[in-house]
């Protein structure tokens, strides 16, 4: 008996990718735009989602999926108090959400009534980048106190982005953060990436983001 070589050439993430595509189709069929929001812990993901909801709640219905490594519902509770449906997904210690967890989250949201779903991924700059969830675009919330070298250290996450938010610009006078150096790294990895510098504390820069997102939601509804 001798060994036979069977060619495969298939991505190891293919099972995840299949489920992700089902999620995306499900959302698209219901005309719900979905965003995968990633960041390191404390960058301001939850704050940014709350600020976004506050500015869009008269126009759109927004559901939120909160990924957390532990069964705490602090972030989901904040969204619910803001008047929007939210579900908490506990990854059981895992460092990222995957497409099947995302599918469970979607099943608990009233998709028929929603225009937008925002997924707050687990706070981490390495792992979430590898897993397609089935959202329509990837957004990263970077923040000034994290430092200007992050694109150079975590190239993968920057490469897969459609939108970059630079949060906490109100702290720029107090920390060493060279905006040019930061944006240079981003430009190397993802030329022309749409970028919004904002502060969730002062509201600076939020209008431009909200204008962009409202148009995106409206266009999406008209196209699909």
């Amino acid at each position: 008996m001798s060994a036979i070589r069977v060619p495969v050439v298939e991505k190891i993430f293919s099972t995840n990718d299949k489920i992700a595509n089902q999620n995306r189709q499900n959302l698209t069929d219901k005309k719900v735009l979905a965003i995968n929001l990633m960041a390191s812990p404390g960058a301001g993901k939850t704050s940014f989602i709350l600020e976004t909801i506050k500015r869009l709640q008269d126009q759109f219905r927004i559901g939120v999926i909160e990924g957390d490594t532990a069964p705490v519902t602090i972030d989901a509770d904040k969204i619910i108090s803001a008047g929007m449906p939210a579900v908490q997904i506990n990854t059981g210690g895992d460092c990222h959400l995957d497409a099947s967890m995302m599918g469970d989250g979607l099943a608990s949201l009233p998709l028929e009534d929603l225009d937008l779903v925002i997924v707050e991924n687990v706070g981490n700059l390495i792992c979430p980048a590898a897993w397609d969830l089935g959202t329509h675009f990837n957004l990263l919330v970077a923040s000034v106190p994290e430092g200007d070298d992050k694109p150079y250290k975590y190239p993968n996450i920057y490469r897969g982005l459609e939108i970059l938010i630079i949060n906490k610009v109100d702290l720029q006078p107090y920390v060493e953060f060279k905006m040019d150096y930061f944006r240079h790294g981003v430009e190397m990895l993802n030329p022309g990436l749409i970028t919004f510098p904002v502060s969730c504390r002062t509201g600076e820069g939020m209008d431009a983001w909200i204008e962009w997102l409202s148009k995106k939601i409206t266009d999406f509804k008209n196209i699909v």
Binding site: V6, V9, I126, A129, R159, H184
Partner: protein, 120 residues
């Protein structure tokens, strides 16, 4: 890190191809892994023995074909390899670069044994 779920995906993929080919045993798994793939191959190796227990993949050898991270510089048209952190072109200092290899992560092939076919 996420290597446990990655290793489980790898096993499922390998098993589905092994079953399709009527394998009785899987001898080796050939994986292509790029420097920038954010997968730690030592951890995959570590989990492999656990997840393959009681399957026809038990004992199968994991072979990693490691691909370097290669960037192309648009300014001087040279290619250079990086470790993990992004660095400018060592030749001209240029930062207008594109990644040409290093993001690979796929199952290239499996090596299997089959029941000897009866000659009729």
């Amino acid at each position: 890190m996420h290597e446990l779920s990655v290793t489980e995906s790898l096993l499922n993929l390998a098993l589905s191809h092994a079953n399709q080919a009527n394998a009785t045993k899987v001898i080796a798994i050939n994986i292509v892994i790029g420097r920038l793939s954010s997968i730690v191959d030592d951890s995959v190796q570590f989990y492999w023995d656990f997840v393959t227990e009681d399957s026809i993949c038990a004992g199968a050898k994991l072979n990693f074909d490691r691909r370097p991270a290669v960037l192309h510089c648009a300014d001087c048209a040279s290619d250079y390899t990086i470790d993990h952190d992004l660095t400018p072109c060592p030749k001209c200092g240029g930062m207008r670069t594109t990644i040409i290899s290093g993001e690979e992560f796929f199952l290239d092939s499996i090596e299997i044994e089959k029941e000897a076919e009866k000659i009729s």
